[in-house]
Amino acid sequence: MPPPATFSSSTAAFLGGMKSALASVFFLVLAGTYIGMGALAHDFGFSPWWLALSTVLVWAAPAQVILISALGADSALIEAAIAVTLSAIRLFPMVVALLPLLRGEGTRLRDLLLPTHFTSVSMWVESIRLLPGVPRERRIAFCNGLAVGYMSTAASFGFVGYYLAAELPPLFAGALLFLTPLSFLLSTARNAKAMMDKLALVLGLLLGTILTATNVQLDLLWTGIGGGTLAYIVHRLREAAA
């Protein structure tokens, strides 16, 4: 559902972004994912406020899962930090692809600080889809509203999960954990309109499975660079042929 083409003010755009967040499939996804995360934090002995702070500061579900399980299991801190940073590499190309959509004439660096911090899978996928329908001067406010909507959803359901912890039977706990990959898969597929994006999705699924199964180090990094570059080359060759 594209947002209205115009917003009368930045506040209207911010609220429009929040509304889009609450109406999107990611609302349910984040609710499910963070209920699971709350249960995990409870099991490993963290406070629900620690979890809420980690949602605001880290704002990346895979990194948070790694952090909770590593710290809770008393793993070496440096090992946990390396695992977190590897899981976060994907944020780098997302920021690079997102910011040019937000920047307009007279955009200051500090206006981009919040959208940079807010960049995550849910916010990125929906921003790439919705921003082209938003006037350029309202895009930053819209984007911030979208992310604040998602972040408050995630933080609230973290508390729900924390207090539900251990009450869920294993099959339903598994179904909650399944929400994350399933919804990421379908929303990325819906987002992949250009042939290059479809190809990058398929190559990433295949390479990710193969490289993990063969215990290749830095598997996600190679999946991204290998699959993404191959999809990009095919896109360039087709453009050159057309």
């Binding site: 940079t116 598994g174 399944f178 379908l186 999946t223 991204g224």
Partner: protein, 115 residues
């Protein structure tokens, strides 16, 4: 948690081991993206790389699951993801409908196996 952790230690660890190693990639992106527009070749390539990394994360979560999801067999998980994708394709490309179909398939498959 071991006894040396005081009340503040988990928060310190959150910043040092969680926030900073995660945020550094966003800041790199901010620094590198200056002066680029959305049609720049590096931005188009970055979009392809981000999509492929995300797909890799999806594959890992489904194929190499952990926690409660690992208790549901691999065949059920992959079939449920395929059902969800078919549901998405056949129901006006609605991601929400696809998620419902995939989750229903996972619960049904998991229930049949565990039963």
């Amino acid at each position: 948690m071991s006894a040396i952790w005081t009340d503040l230690a988990p928060y310190l660890a959150l910043v040092l081991v969680g926030y900073l190693p995660n945020e550094v990639w966003r800041v790199f992106g901010l620094v590198l993206a200056r002066g680029l527009n959305e049609d720049s070749e590096i931005v188009v390539w970055s979009r392809a790389v981000a999509t492929a990394i995300l797909a890799g994360v999806i594959a890992k979560l489904i194929v190499f699951s952990s926690g409660a999801l690992a208790g549901i067999p691999l065949g059920v998980r992959v079939s449920a993801a395929a059902c969800g994708f078919l549901g998405y394709l056949t129901m006006k490309r609605s991601a929400f409908a696809g998620v419902l179909v995939g989750e229903a398939a996972l619960l049904l498959g998991g229930w049949l196996v565990v039963r």
